[in-house]
């Protein structure tokens, strides 16, 4: 493998990592602060993408679609919070898993009823429509660079919010010991609602940003949800910094794994066997990584310190 290809693959890995971070950030906030397992986070990501497509069809502009879909994502998130999730905060994890799994089934079917089963798409905005020549034959879309930039932007924003503001302080306190925070006179319910709404918006934002490069279809969030859980478990539940680094790690390991394992296997095995073994190992790599991390750091790389 040439150095150029390796550099391109590293870039691809970072980009996958950033996309994963966008999804995992909201999940880790909600899970870490509220101790609430929200399996419906993946369908909220899907909903963001669908809302963006719908808004694009009415307004014809990517930017107003982005704005509109963000607002609508927040709205639907709060509606769900009010009708479903609010009643689950005090229940145990199994109840939460069951109920939010129900939300997955419901919303996956609902988007199919409203928008049909066929995949939809959102065009890349003209402003970001160009591409950069990376290698002979291979161009890198400017939109993907914008995606990386927006992910980094979200990371910085969250970092400032969590470490430099009053609400961030409450969030950190809530992640550590919610009962004491409530005893000190903070309206923990309202804090939860804000955190949840913000998490929903992040999921929606990820969906909107992913829509121009990925297909918008029912169930599109289900695969990513699993990856997002891997990210937050490796990163340490509730830790934004952990989620960021773990997402980049997963993105790199997955992408480089996909491009290297078969080559490595071919050096050791006959070609037919290598074609079987390589992809199998590549798809296991991130789970092996997770098992390894959990073995040495059972609460993840950067545990948020819930007692």
């Amino acid at each position: 493998m040439s150095a150029t290809l390796l550099a391109v693959q590293t870039l691809n890995g970072l980009q996958l990592g950033v996309l994963l971070f966008l999804i995992a950030a909201g999940l880790t906030l909600v899970f870490g602060v509220m101790d609430f397992i929200n399996l419906a986070h993946g369908v909220q990501y899907m909903l963001g993408a669908y809302l963006a497509v719908a808004a694009y069809q009415t307004t014809g502009s990517f930017w107003s679609a982005l704005l509109l879909a963000l607002v609508l994502s927040l709205f639907f998130g709060l509606v769900l919070e009010f009708f479903v999730f609010r009643h689950l905060y005090d229940r145990d994890h199994l109840d939460q898993v069951l109920a939010t799994f129900g939300v997955i089934l419901f919303l996956n079917e609902a988007v199919k009823v409203v928008w049909g089963a066929a995949p939809l798409s959102l065009p890349i905005p003209e402003l970001l429509g160009g591409s950069i020549q990376l290698m002979e034959n291979l161009r890198y879309p400017v939109y993907r660079i914008a995606l990386i930039a927006s992910g980094l932007g979200v990371a910085v924003l969250l970092y400032v919010l969590v470490t430099r503001t009053r609400i961030g302080m409450l969030v950190r306190a809530g992640a550590t010991n919610p009962d004491i925070v409530a005893a000190l006179g903070v309206n923990i319910r309202r804090l939860f609602m804000i955190v949840f709404g913000f998490g929903t918006m992040l999921a929606g934002f990820a969906g909107i940003m992913a829509a121009p490069i990925l297909s918008v279809e029912p169930g599109m969030g289900d695969n990513l949800l699993i990856l997002a859980f891997v990210v937050i478990v490796i990163g340490g539940i509730g830790s934004i910094r952990g989620a960021f680094l773990a997402a980049l790690l997963i993105g790199l390991v997955d992408t480089l794994g996909r491009s290297l394992t078969t080559d490595v296997a071919r050096m050791l095995l006959p070609p037919a066997a290598a074609n079987d073994v390589g992809p199998a190992i590549a798809s296991m790599l991130i789970y092996i990584l997770m098992a390894g991390v959990l073995f040495f750091r059972p609460s993840g790389l950067f545990p948020a310190g819930r007692s």
Partner: protein
């Protein structure tokens, strides 16, 4: 005495058969398709095609009042099996039809065939059913699974592509696709890339392809995976540089999402909306008129399944007993929307296969278009090992 009784029974049966058209008989068909989950769009196309075929016969296939019970297999073989048993035992269906995915087909095939119920497959054609496990009760109005891939392999050879990269998801159908491609391809396979099933981002694979600079790539990426791949292939600037050959990747189920990014890409298929025959012109016109979207090959196969049943029942004057109906079905007494159509010894079609290309039809609608016939009157590779009993 025994001989006398069977002679009597035979006379009675002939009498019954003659009496059938006089009675207002009905026909009950169990139609199984995948209608939930991400691949639901394939099932939807196939079902809509089938129901259109029934509707055009005035709701009476072969003059019999027809009831179609549509069930969703959820793409779960165990759920499919339960539902098929319900159709056979509780609903007492006269026939089964449909089935999108091969794993579902393998689960339901045995019970349907063993109950001696006629089964018209409208999509999945796994090799065991076409080969050693073939049955006089099973007919296919689609293809054997390998065939559309074979089309692309043959075409790549004809074009003189000497270095090809093949890419498919890492599961049985993906490996079958690549085996099918290789069957008629004579050049060199530079690299075989197996991706994760359900993979979303292909940038690593695309970089690898750009680096290897093959003469063409062949891929089988059904459903949303294909949509992602096609969009990213275009965005990476590979579309103009390296020819894109595919199967079940670029068709009317994915074109509404890929639109202009798929324009000009190639696929292999037995049907396209521009095939010139009266049955097809009518089918495409009526389908768009009724459902408001462009039909795909899945819709065409569903439609042909209904028309095959209609033709055969018309031939037997509404006699739906297996003795009368099986030979009638075998003679394929209908005008297929794909043109030439007859049944092979394993009761899979002998038909033509085409190179199809995604083109813009009008406004925002993209469809496939047959540009070149690659195989003429082609049967599948497994018919030889089928021994009907």
């Amino acid at each position: 005495m025994k001989r006398f009784l069977s002679a009597l029974a035979a006379t009675a049966m002939v009498g019954a058969a003659a009496a059938v058209p006089a009675k207002a008989e009905s026909l009950k068909i169990g139609f199984m398709a995948t209608l939930s989950g991400p691949p639901a769009v394939l099932g939807q196309h196939m079902r809509d095609g089938f129901l259109l075929g029934v509707e055009e016969a005035g709701g009476k296939l072969g003059g019999l009042e027809t009831e179609v019970i549509v069930v969703d297999d959820e793409l779960k073989p165990d759920a499919a099996l339960t539902k098929v048993q319900g159709l056979l035992e509780r609903d007492q269906v006269d026939m089964m039809a449909g089935v999108v995915f091969s794993n579902v087909m393998m689960a339901v095939y045995k019970p349907v065939i063993e109950s001696e119920t006629i089964f018209i497959g409208a999509n999945a054609g796994p090799s065991p059913i076409a080969g050693r496990g073939c049955s006089p009760y099973f007919f296919s109005t689609s293809w054997q699974n390998d065939q559309n891939h074979e089309v692309m392999g043959r075409y790549a050879g004809q074009q003189g592509y000497e270095r090809v990269i093949v890419m498919a998801p890492n599961y049985q159908a993906g490996k079958d696709a690549i085996a099918g491609f290789k069957r008629h391809y004579t050049g060199e396979i530079v690299d075989e890339i197996y991706t994760k099933l359900g993979q979303l981002d292909f940038s690593a694979e695309l970089a690898r392809i750009a680096d290897a600079q093959p003469d063409a790539i062949f891929t089988f990426m059904p459903g949303g995976m294909g949509v992602n791949l096609v969009k990213q292939y275009d965005q990476a600037g590979l579309k103009g540089a390296i020819p894109f050959l595919s199967s079940f990747t670029v068709d009317e189920t994915t074109l509404p999402a890929t639109k202009t990014t798929a324009e000009g890409l190639f696929g292999g298929a037995q049907w396209a909306p521009n095939l010139e025959n009266p049955a097809n012109a009518k089918f495409v016109r009526d389908f768009v008129g009724k459902y408001g979207y462009a039909p795909s090959l899945y819709a065409a196969q569903g439609y042909d399944a209904a028309r095959l049943i209609d033709g055969a029942l018309t031939m037997t004057d509404g006699n739906k007993s297996a003795d009368a109906l099986l030979p009638a079905l075998k003679s394929a007494p209908f005008e297929s929307v794909r043109g030439d159509f007859s049944f092979n010894t394993n009761q899979f079609p002998i038909q033509d296969f085409y190179l199809v290309q995604a083109v813009k039809q009008s406004g925002d609608t993209y469809v496939t278009q047959a540009v070149e016939k690659v195989f003429d009157d082609k049967g599948d590779a497994y018919a030889g090992s089928c021994r009907m009993n």
